[in-house]
């Protein structure tokens, strides 16, 4: 797969301006969307479709902090994926397990306030990890490996937040 930073023509960094990224995506879509080639010969339409898909995919990757971090690691030649990365720390696993139990309890007792509390605590934690990641990546590609455990933590935190949001939605009046 082509590097998403290159596809969108943006500087490869972690603390990316998401509004600017969205704007770039819109500008490229204006140039490449299949609708722009509605009257064009078939081969040109196929070409535009392929490019538009690539641009949409790159935007999807860069919007997501986990996949954005993975793209940066890939650029730095750091192997990623469950088997390639070091195991998450015992502390992190224990913490996540406690959080998960607290969430399950709150869900069972339909305690929306408790769910909100867990959500806001986890969002603070997410924010902290994002700041640390931006810092790790700004040290340059040679130090990218330092970001690996943080990416692992971010994955856990984001997955937990997805579950929290789903439960918040279920319990909403």
């Amino acid at each position: 797969m082509r590097d998403p930073f290159e596809t969108l023509g943006v500087e490869p960094r972690f603390d990316i301006d998401l509004d600017k990224l969205a704007e770039r995506h819109r500008d490229l879509s204006r140039a490449l969307h299949p609708d722009r080639y509605a009257g064009a010969p078939a081969a040109e339409r196929r070409l535009a479709l392929g490019r538009a898909i690539e641009v949409n995919d790159a935007h999807r990757v860069l919007k997501d902090p986990v996949r954005r971090a993975e793209a940066l690691l890939r650029r730095a030649g750091v192997p990623i994926g469950e088997t390639a990365e070091p195991k998450p720390s015992q502390t992190l696993l224990m913490e996540m397990m406690d959080q998960r139990e607290a969430l399950a309890d709150a869900r069972r007792s339909k305690d929306l306030a408790a769910v909100h509390e867990l959500a806001s605590a986890t969002r603070q934690r997410e924010h902290a990890v994002l700041v640390k990641l931006a810092h790790a990546f700004s040290a340059g590609e040679n130090h990218a490996e330092a970001a690996l455990p943080l990416v692992g933590e971010l994955r856990y935190v984001r997955r937990f937040l997805d579950e929290v949001s789903a439960i918040e939605e279920d319990l909403a009046p």
Partner: protein
């Protein structure tokens, strides 16, 4: 002006937009840059989506059919859209209604409902095509010749429902340029009219479907952030709830006769309409010659409708969350669909989003108007094509069934389309020589709870230990939201490809056969139609190429390349003036080949411009093109449009 158009014998085919609704359908066109709904000779804009089959085998559509519905409930299909792309055992098919269904003879047949009407079976696709034919006639009466068509579908329609709608369009003899989502069409019409920018929610409650769409309007780009809904929830359900109460009040048996069911549903609809302005409605109902009078208050009706309206809130909250937006960030809420006239719905929307909805648009016309604008853009006739762009999303996740029956998502919902993703799978048993692939759509964990779109087998994999084979599956969703899947086995160097277009129970052959029998002179008509389509396509391509020659002639690299392009243009022009379909197609392909490399360079320039922004454009104008652009072309100049890889 209008008369001239009607009598101009050389009138070029004109694009139209169609809102194929559950209750009513409309057709619209653009004239002098503004969209209009086309009315019939009685000034009716709405065509009731009702189809009646008479004893002599004739088909009656619209107002006349609606009048026959009470007397012939089995022979008159109302709200056919609810059955599009649905199977015989779908819960939707088994709801309160007067129809008779043909038994399915095979599992494949069971994937589509078949109505039994006067001893014959008809599919929802054929019934919808009858409605579309009437709309086409309506448009032809005004425009003489109809060109490309954009048909709207609920945003929450799945792949099977979309495919069925497209087939219905083809069956009605229409050149379907694109299916677009109803809320997006509405936003397009509203946004262009109001010239507003900002974040909007479109709340679309129609006769049989509910959609919620959050989208950003930014200087002509209409970007959908998220969409959600319920493709089996609408104003019809309010009628049905009220009809159940009416039947009970009348003391009807638990399994009432079909005529009575139809009568109760129609009475309920009239009462619902009356309660929009009145707080109490009296309705007369004739049963077996005796007239009974019913009184329903708005409070009573709202008590019945409330649970249905509240169901829309679940989808709205999820769409807001998917878009990462809170209600206070919205600049406005646009109401679409006849059922949003119900006062309870308006109050609920206001409470849900914390602001009164925008009421300065006609909720019943706005979708057709948007479709007409998009048709105009896609036909490439308007300057507007360069100003307006719709960026829509996939409404429901697409995935594959994996071990244990789990649905593995390959493309998640609310992914901007067109979209593509690749996923690699492996074998779980030693010496496994085939892969069963089951493509599903939906949000549920288990594949059996999702919508099954297609199954196929990739065979001939050489025996290997478990986990060794590498099967790469590629999903590709085009701008219509329609899916194509290919699969290949990587490790052995043996590359197998299987193209799969999901089906909903009607095979291509069946659709073709329907098409033949629908045309009076079968083959002859089909050929003529194909000739017209080939010409329209050729004209489109010629127009686009000439336009490109004005803008980007400097990107043609050699005198020889220019000569090849000019020759291909001349050949196509000659072919179009004749009437050999095959020659027109071949010459269109010829131009295609001649312009291919140049097209790649033009696309690179478009990308370079988009990335470099306005400054470079200005520099470009001042200093002539050359250097700046070339540098970008080199940087981004990988001409092959490779598929995007996604997850590992």
């Amino acid at each position: 002006m209008q008369l001239l158009e009607i009598f101009d014998p050389k009138a070029a085919p004109k694009p139209v937009g169609i809102d194929l609704g559950t209750t009513n359908s409309l057709v619209a066109r653009v004239r002098d840059g503004k969209p209009f709904v086309i009315s019939d000779c009685n000034q009716n804009k709405l065509v009731p989506s009702v189809v009646h089959y008479d004893p002599r085998g004739r088909v009656v559509v619209g107002h006349d059919a609606a009048r026959l519905a009470a007397e012939f409930p089995r022979e008159t299909i109302v709200s056919v859209k609810r059955f599009m792309g649905r199977g015989a055992d779908d819960p939707e098919t088994r709801r309160l209604g007067p129809y008779e269904f043909a038994p399915a003879n095979s599992p494949e047949e069971a994937k589509t409902v078949r109505f039994l009407v006067r001893g014959k079976t008809v599919t929802p696709v054929e019934v919808s095509a009858e409605i579309l034919r009437v709309l086409r006639q309506l448009a032809e009466d005004e425009l003489r010749s109809v060109g490309g068509v954009v048909i709207t579908v609920p945003a929450y329609f799945d792949d099977a429902q979309r495919q069925a709608t497209k087939d219905a369009g083809n069956l009605a003899g229409l050149d379907v340029l694109r299916l677009i989502n109803e809320p997006t069409a509405a936003a397009l019409a509203y946004g262009l009219e109001s010239r507003k920018n900002g974040l909007f929610a479109v709340y679309d409650l129609g006769g049989g479907t509910f959609d919620i769409t959050i989208l950003l309007l930014d200087d002509g780009v209409f970007q959908v952030r998220s969409t959600g809904g319920d493709s089996a929830l609408g104003g019809d359900d309010m009628d049905r709830a009220l009809a159940v109460k009416i039947l009970k009040d009348l003391g009807a048996p638990t399994d009432p006769p079909r005529e009575l069911v139809r009568l109760a549903l129609d009475t309920a609809r009239r009462i619902k309409h009356g309660l929009t302005d009145a707080t109490q409605v009296e309705a007369e109902i004739d049963i077996a010659g005796a007239t009974r009078t019913l009184t329903v208050t708005r409070d009573e009706f709202e008590a019945l409708a409330k649970p249905l309206v509240e169901r829309t809130g679940v989808a709205c909250r999820r769409a807001l969350r998917d878009a990462g937006v809170s209600p206070s960030e919205l600049d406005g809420v646009i109401l679409v669909g006849g059922a949003t006239r119900v006062p309870l719905v308006r109050r609920y929307v206001e409470q849900l989003f914390g602001k009164p909805p925008l009421l300065d648009i006609d909720p019943e016309e706005v979708v057709a108007l948007g479709a007409a604008i998009q048709a105009d853009i896609l036909a490439g006739t308007k300057e507007r094509a360069d100003e307006v762009l719709l960026l829509d999303v996939l409404p429901l996740s697409l995935g594959l069934e994996t071990m244990g029956g789990v649905a593995e998502k390959v493309l998640p919902r609310n992914t901007t389309i067109p979209a593509g993703a690749r996923q690699v799978f492996t074998t779980y048993a030693d010496n496994q020589t085939g892969f069963h692939l089951h493509i599903v759509q939906g949000e549920r964990e288990l594949a059996t709870d999702c919508r099954s779109l297609a199954r196929f087998v990739l065979k001939g994999i050489p025996p290997m230990p478990a986990g060794m084979a590498r099967l790469e599956v590629t999903f590709r969703v085009d701008a219509d939201g329609l899916l194509g899947v290919t699969a290949k086995e990587l490790t052995t160097g043996i590359e197998q490809r299987v193209e799969v277009t999901p089906s909903y129970g009607l095979s291509d052959d069946e659709v073709e056969a329907m098409l033949m029998s629908a045309l009076d002179h079968g083959e002859e008509d089909l050929e003529r139609r194909q000739l017209v389509e080939a010409r329209v396509e050729a004209e489109r391509v010629l127009h686009a190429t000439r336009k490109a020659l004005v803008a980007d002639a400097d990107l043609i690299e050699t005198v020889d390349e220019r000569k090849r392009i000019d020759e291909a243009i001349a050949a196509l022009e000659r072919a179009v003036s004749g009437d050999k379909q095959s020659l027109i197609r071949a010459s269109t392909d010829g131009l295609d080949v001649a312009t291919h490399d140049w097209a790649g360079r033009r696309m690179d320039r478009a990308i370079a411009k988009a990335i470099a922004g306005k400054e470079v454009e200005l520099v470009e104008q001042a200093v002539a093109h050359a250097k700046g652009v070339d540098a970008h072309v080199v940087e981004h100049g990988r001409a092959d449009a490779g598929l995007p890889a996604a997850e590992s």
